[in-house]
């Protein structure tokens, strides 16, 4: 029983970070219908800047720099590349981000060289014991941060003009432009925000508690693992990101113990396949419906 509880706690803790990563996909998808395959490289980039500046700025300052620079890189990507490919459709742009991801990732990994630094200074590997259960601090902080950010986004999408403008211009840029929606500003904001989310996520990912490894190519793979989370929740749904993240975290933790560890990665994808077979646009995604 203790084992089960501990696994659930582990799963939820990781799920919170997966939710944060999935939210990054969701924000951009909602604004542009582009699936950002380069999210993993934004995560890496943010982490890399933390590493570079930590010596001189300390953890807090470096973290802010990391978040900001991931955000700015995302913004630059949008402004310098995607915005210039106006004629390309969302799917081609998604493919473009694959190319970008390759470049940024390889460059950051090259620059990291042999160092694989951990980022979770303030809390890493300092667990708290309650009863027979161990609570990892990274998980606790991540849960709190995710809860705050996700609630904020949920409200913004639902109730602000920004949310409406975002969806409008994602669907039809010309019509949105005719409504006075500055689509460039909306998309740029979305990328900026998604980049910042990536910068926040990496602070949790490159820790002993979360990934067991410092900043490295593996950090990028974890962002990739958030993909099924975003998809099974529904790519355009904030609630979906939360549920998807937690489902992935739990599926991974429980299948590792009760089926086998090497199956756990497949288990995540299998859960996703089952969900998609029943609901082709994910649990909370907007169903595709067209008419002639």
């Amino acid at each position: 029983m203790n084992t089960f509880l501990q696994l659930v706690v582990n799963g939820l803790g990781k799920g919170a970070v997966f939710a944060l990563l999935a939210l990054g996909f969701v924000v951009i998808f909602k604004a542009t219908e582009v699936v950002n395959f380069a999210h993993g490289s934004l995560v890496l980039f943010g982490g890399y800047l933390v590493v570079v500046t930590r010596e001189s700025l300390g953890w807090v300052g470096a973290s802010l720099v990391g978040i900001l620079s991931a955000a700015l890189l995302a913004l630059a990507v949008e402004r310098l590349l995607l915005a210039r490919a106006r004629s390309a459709d969302a799917n081609s742009l998604a493919l473009l981000t694959i190319g970008l991801d390759v470049i940024i990732t390889e460059e950051v990994v090259r620059r990291l060289g042999v160092t694989l630094p951990f980022l979770g200074e303030a809390w890493d590997a300092q667990p708290i014991q309650i009863g027979g259960i161990t609570l990892f601090r990274t998980h606790l902080v991540a849960l709190a941060v995710s809860a705050v950010l996700i609630t904020a986004f949920f409200l913004a999408f639902r109730y602000s003009d920004w949310g409406v403008a975002m969806r409008a211009q994602a669907e039809n840029r010309e019509a949105a432009a005719l409504m006075g929606i500055r689509s460039s500003r909306v998309t740029a904001t979305a990328w900026l925000v998604a980049g910042a989310l990536a910068g926040v996520a990496v602070l949790f990912i490159a820790t002993q508690d979360f990934s067991g490894a410092g900043l490295s190519r593996g950090t990028h793979s974890i962002a990739l693992a958030a993909f099924p989370a975003a998809i099974l929740g529904g790519l355009d749904s904030t609630a979906g990101a939360v549920v998807g993240g937690l489902v992935v975290g739990l599926a991974e933790a429980l299948s590792a113990q009760y089926i086998s560890f090497d199956f756990s990665k497949s288990a995540v994808f299998l859960v996703m396949l089952v969900v998609l077979a029943l609901r082709p646009s994910g649990l909370f995604g907007t169903r595709e419906s067209t008419r002639v």
Partner: protein, 262 residues
């Protein structure tokens, strides 16, 4: 209010769509623009609303002025803020958003909340079906309902100049007539209108002035009444049906097709 001078527009590197167009819309006037497929009507509206770029088009020469301000290089949002709002060809509602959200998106250009509420009430009054279907996904509306939504959406920001690209497309005759009235009403409340139409009967009835575009040039221009009386317009756009049908038959050349094999 709107003055277009020697406007030349190109798509991509090779397609020239407008070859020097001059158009004037007086404050609170209604200008009808007629022309056959591909004449450049939509291109003209795109140049005014600043959306050419979205179609890989660009203004090569000439100018567009609104209230004395050059807008041919301005971005669409800035143009909307000046009070120029367009309804694109083929409705282009936000298919995945609800009717209500579509209207909301239309109001984003207008900052002030009371104006928004008033505009919404007015749109609902003009198009009651939009109130009924507030929660329905816009993409699932019928063609005509979508057209109404598109016009309603444009009215949400209280424009001073409304650009309508073939609003009667796919609408029932009764609704076409109703749209005509609505345009007149909109006009009566002080909004100028540029109305691109295939339905010349309606357009010429609503408009004060009219122009006919042919292959990127203004071929004819004058008051609506003058144009309605012109031979070419009669034949091509108003359709004295009996003659033009036989003529069409002649143009069609009595082509034949071998019978099906099945």
């Amino acid at each position: 209010m709107l003055s277009v001078r020697n406007l030349q527009v190109r798509y991509g590197r090779s397609v020239a769509a407008l070859h020097g167009v001059d158009i004037d819309v007086p404050a609170d006037g209604v200008l009808a623009v007629l022309g056959s497929n591909g004449a450049g009507k939509s291109t003209l509206l795109r140049a005014v609303s600043g959306t050419l770029r979205l179609h890989r088009g660009s203004v090569v020469a000439g100018s567009v002025e609104f209230d004395g301000r050059r807008i041919d290089r301005a971005d669409p949002a800035a143009i909307v803020r000046l009070g120029v709002v367009g309804v694109p060809e083929g409705r282009q509602v936000f298919a995945r958003m609800t009717v209500e959200e579509n209207l909301r998106a239309g109001g984003i250009g207008a900052r002030d909340a009371t104006r928004r509420a008033a505009a919404r009430a007015r749109v609902h009054e003009l198009f009651p079906v939009l109130a009924e279907r507030a929660k329905q996904r816009a993409g699932l509306l019928s063609g005509g309902e979508q057209q109404m939504l598109a016009i309603g959406r444009a009215l949400m920001s209280g424009p001073r100049l409304l650009l309508l690209d073939e609003p009667s497309l796919g609408l029932a005759p009764k609704v076409v007539a109703r749209i005509g009235e609505i345009i007149r009403e909109i006009h009566a409340q002080g909004t100028a209108v540029v109305l691109v139409e295939q339905n010349a009967v309606m357009a010429l009835r609503v408009a004060e002035h009219a122009a006919v575009l042919e292959v990127g040039r203004v071929a004819l221009r004058g008051t609506a009444a003058e144009l309605a009386a012109s031979d070419d317009v009669q034949r091509l756009y108003l359709g004295g049906h009996a003659e033009s049908w036989s003529e069409a038959h002649w143009r069609h050349g009595g082509r034949t097709l071998a019978r099906w094999e099945r």
